[in-house]
Amino acid sequence: MTPARFAYLRPDTLGEALAVLAREGEGATPLAGGQSLMPMMAMRMARPALLLDLNRVAGLDGIAVVEGALHIGAMARHATVLAHPLVAAHAPLLPLALREVAHPAIRNRGTLGGSLCLADPAAELPACMLALDATLVLANRAGERGVAAVDFFQGLYATARRADELLVRVEIPLSPGWSPWFAETARRHGDYALAGLAMMCRREAGRITALRIAFLGVEAAPRRLPEVEAAILDSADAAALLPRLLSPLHAEEAPAAWRLHLAQVLLRRAMIGEGRHAAA
């Protein structure tokens, strides 16, 4: 359980970190909370030549409202985001989902940026970014670019991040009048989900008039499902559409048919949950 040998750099500024990436490209692996990378290194599934430790880079963990959007720095720890008043006020979907992410000691160390850049298909936060319509801001030495969450996640552990880029923050548009819904099924609390659903919706006079949904743990990467969203707006049985639209992952312990079933159950629960919410 000892990782393979590596070189190690611990820059203090974003400029230094980006200079290392510009020089080393894929030879350098960013280290955020290490809660996924360290286990992969221990099992030698990852053998980074150079670890670029981001834990001392100043200014990467801020949480603030800037021009109509909630900004959360890539190095914000799960536990910090979970307990932050601005997040509770402006992106209450995140605390709902973060309660299901791993365990307290892992949340004390793991980061938002690490979870998004890893892009584990069963992770909660990537799906939340789609439901929240977030923009992921990547930086390299030349400057910054924003990538919409729908374009960032590209498959199993695959993202739009280029080798010379760091994720620096996410920007979540403020959405007054929208409310969150989140649920997942896992074997035990804190385990990765077998299937989960993140939803944001707006209701006017008790009717859902706008919504964004994304499943997690079901397909290789989270995506929006416009047909399903349209069916919900039409009060049609949206869950009935899922067998045709989804391509669920398959594994011995969680077969594709089972994940599809869970996705349907979760979607129906979301609809009932919304009904209850509206009545309350």
Binding site: G34, M38, P39, A102, H103, P104, A105, R109
Partner: protein, 169 residues
């Protein structure tokens, strides 16, 4: 003997209230360094890849997996292990663990105590559900968990009684 090509680093940090400086093997985890170099064997190495919670320790005041932090990352930090963990919540937990039979082999106990202490310090609700959630990342292979939950609940009640008693004086 370390092979010549083994990369090393110099670190300086506080461990259990004492300044420590020394050389670490770059790829060594914090818990391995504490055990092997400082003789602090209270934090245990179970799975060594972040699943079991036996290696829990405090890094700058929060509980983390000691196997998922590199020793070099403790440079400049404040590290506290079960050997030095003190305070009324830790005392209450130790007593309650003994009283309720919340351990058998004891391998998971240091990690359990630190993780439970964080819950008691937070002053949050002490339902069995909240305790289960708090300890969801700590494995025990002896007790079946129920006595551990009993013990944490009892420790919380004992602390509240103390606080109430102190307030009444």
């Amino acid at each position: 003997m370390l092979p010549l090509e083994e990369p090393l680093a110099e670190i300086a940090c506080m461990v259990n209230g004492r300044p420590i400086s020394g050389r670490v093997v770059l790829r060594q985890s914090l818990v391995e360094w504490l055990r092997a170099e400082l003789g602090l064997t209270g934090s245990h190495v179970g799975c060594a890849h972040g699943v079991c919670g036996a290696c829990h320790l405090r890094l700058d005041g929060v509980v983390v997996r000691g196997c998922l932090v590199l020793a070099v990352q403790a440079d400049g930090a404040d590290v506290e292990t079960i050997e030095a963990a003190s305070g009324p919540e830790v005392t209450a937990l130790r007593e309650a663990f003994v009283e309720h039979g919340a351990l058998q082999c004891g391998f998971c106990t240091p990690g359990m105590i630190l993780q439970a202490a964080e819950l008691l310090l937070g002053g949050g609700p002490l339902s069995r559900e909240a305790i289960r959630e708090q300890l969801s990342g700590n494995y025990c292979r002896c007790t079946g968990y129920q006595p551990i939950i009993d013990a944490v609940q009892a420790a919380g009640a004992a602390l509240q009684a103390q606080a109430g008693g102190a307030g009444g004086e």
